[in-house]
């Protein structure tokens, strides 16, 4: 199987996020960057499929700055074969432009399967899988928790989460699937794996090499980041457990009107 995984480097989920004084972005100093948590499931699944189907190849693709090479190395260290960094530029906030770049690269890979996380842990867009699928004319299924490749029919049996429970679907390959937590238990990179990953070459591409008029593609603009109105600490109730509970219920009913 030829598999591509779309990955993104994002701030550690435990990081405090500060906005630059001009509100144009976040303060990057002091932030530890990681592979987006949902992408870990996608990468792990791709590597497991590769291990199952002989002759498979897994390519990890990201759009990002120079430092995004770190997450590509993480992918290589757990068994991904090839890594591609498409350098970002000004309009990389625009999801449409980014999807165009990714799809352009993916087209050239002659794929059976594209995996990605259900959303990136920074912009929480949940866009790239569906958008790439449209551009490639592949079907797309989000929130996938189980994948069974049916080699003989060229299809896959999928379990995915919905509000009421789960759906079991059959999809024709090639397709795009977005990974939900629960798909698998990602492995940690081994030391030899990390050593090997260091030596592997990362393919680097400039947006203009893929799409000459890239700069004119943007469909949205990020105007600014702004702080979330702070939530202040409220009231700590006092008294015996009985008194506190009685007061709480009274407040919820009469003041907050939520029960």
């Amino acid at each position: 199987m030829k598999i591509a995984v779309l990955v993104k480097q994002v701030p550690d989920t435990a990081a405090q996020i500060q906005i630059k004084p001009d509100w144009s972005g976040i303060v990057e100093e002091g932030i530890k960057y990681i592979l987006s948590p949902y992408d870990e499931y996608a990468v792990e699944e791709a590597v497991r499929l590769k291990e199952k189907f002989e002759g498979s190849e897994v390519t990890a693709v990201t759009v990002g700055p120079e430092r995004a090479k770190e997450v590509l190395r993480t992918c290589l260290a757990v068994g991904v074969d090839r890594a591609v960094l498409i350098h970002d530029q000004e309009n990389s906030f625009d999801p449409y432009s980014t999807a165009e770049l990714l799809a352009k690269k993916l087209e050239s890979l002659n794929l059976d399967l594209v995996l990605c996380g259900k959303q990136a842990a920074d912009d929480d867009m949940a866009y790239m899988g569906g958008a790439a699928a449209q551009k490639l004319n592949f079907p797309f299924i989000s929130l996938v928790v189980q994948i069974e490749i049916l080699k003989e029919t060229g299809k896959a049996k999928i379990r995915r989460q919905i509000e009421e429970g789960e759906e079991i679907l059959e999809v024709t390959l090639p397709c795009v699937l977005s990974a939900q937590k629960g798909l698998n238990e990602p492995r940690y990179p081994s030391l030899p794996g990390m050593m090997k990953a260091k030596k592997k070459e990362i393919e680097e591409i400039k947006p203009a090499d893929l799409i000459p008029d890239f700069a004119s593609l943007a469909k949205t603009r990020q105007e600014r980041l702004q702080p979330v109105p702070p939530r202040s600490a409220g009231r700590i109730l006092k008294g015996s457990p009985e008194e506190m509970v009685k007061e709480l219920v009274k407040l919820l009913r009469d003041e907050e009107k939520v029960v």
Binding site: S142, E164, R224, L252, V259
Partner: protein
């Protein structure tokens, strides 16, 4: 045209459909366009027409086709494509449901337009359609604006004020001749309904959430009881999900769900930044924890420092009185 997708569950419109219409009405004070609701699959009944009209729809686009009766992403995208080729659309609004989020990205890519996921507000600013959306799991807000093409946004539940109905307003029902693509690349084989009735956090108005302070999986029954009494759902911290105490469906926070209920009761949850990110837009937060230094108290509307095994049974008893004789919605 502002186009929005109506979604039903068990025969009733989601509250989110009414919220989308309210948001559409507010931004339409500036845009002054037509508000159209896409009602898919079945013939709209008279009560649907009345309801959507009074909520603010000018028009109901009502394609009826066997292939549209059930959710089918390929045909739904095709449907939006056909509608867009015959109308000038400025905004497409979908609810941030599983289907809504899945569709939103595909539709906007297909229509070569702008996209913003999981928005909490739409507005018109400096002549541009703009959206406010939480990023970094709600630690920061971003404002994005439309540059060109139809602007497709998915909209988070329970975030906006619902406008009152417009008495007597009627929407015009427009049949739509849909041409399905019918290539059958995706087939739904089976829907497995969760036995767990308390797991659907998406539109829950009350969430009772538990963390490590519960000491063990068996003690979730206290939360389940309180949720049943109040008509709420049960949430959980990442720690207890990763420990296997409860299914991932229940997880609130980064790598779980982002929720904004009217009432969030955090029991034995210390309040890691990833958890706070997922629930701090709740209207009212109650924290019950025996550690007075727990970060959750910094954002809680009301805090009780104490033993949750003493507090919760008392709370269940009190809530039972409040909710007895009151229809649970």
């Amino acid at each position: 045209m502002i186009l929005l997708l109506a979604e039903k569950k068990e025969g009733k419109f989601l509250r989110l459909t009414q919220e989308l219409l309210s948001e559409a009405r507010r931004i339409n004070d500036s845009l002054k366009e037509e508000i159209a609701v896409l009602f898919v699959g079945f013939q709209a009944a008279q009560e649907d027409v009345v309801q959507l009209g009074e909520w603010g729809a000018d028009k109901i686009i009502n394609p009826v086709h066997p292939l549209l009766e059930k959710y089918d992403s390929e045909n739904y995208v095709q449907l939006f494509h056909e509608i867009a080729s015959m109308n000038s659309i400025s905004i497409i609004l979908l609810g941030s449901t599983v289907y809504g989020k899945e569709l939103a990205g595909m539709i906007s890519a297909k229509l070569k337009g702008g996209y913003a996921g999981d928005c909490v507000r739409l507005f018109y600013e400096k002549g541009k359609i703009s959206a406010l959306r939480p990023v970094y799991s709600g630690k920061v807000h971003a404002v994005v604006s439309a540059v060109s093409g139809p602007f497709t946004a998915s909209f988070r539940a329970n975030m906006c004020k619902v406008e009152g109905p417009i008495p007597g307003k009627r929407a015009e029902v427009v049949p739509f001749d849909f041409h399905p693509i019918n290539n059958g690349k995706i087939k739904i084989l089976e829907v497995v309904k969760s036995q767990d009735q308390l797991a659907d956090l998406s539109e829950a108005r009350i969430i009772i959430s538990g963390g490590r302070g519960l000491k063990g999986p068996e003690n979730f029954r206290l939360l389940e009881e309180l949720a049943k009494v109040t008509g709420g759902a049960v949430g959980a911290s990442r720690m207890v999900v990763d420990s296997g105490w409860i299914e991932h469906q229940h997880q609130v926070g980064q790598t779980g769900k982002t929720v904004s209920p009217d009432l969030y009761i955090a029991c034995g949850i210390s309040g890691a930044i990833q958890h706070l990110a997922g629930m701090s837009s709740a209207k009212c937060i109650v924290a019950i924890n025996n550690d007075p230094e727990a970060p959750i108290f910094k954002i809680a509307t009301y805090g009780i420092v104490g033993d949750l095994f003493v507090i919760l049974p008392l709370l269940i008893k009190e809530m039972r009185q409040v909710f007895s004789g009151k229809a649970v919605v």
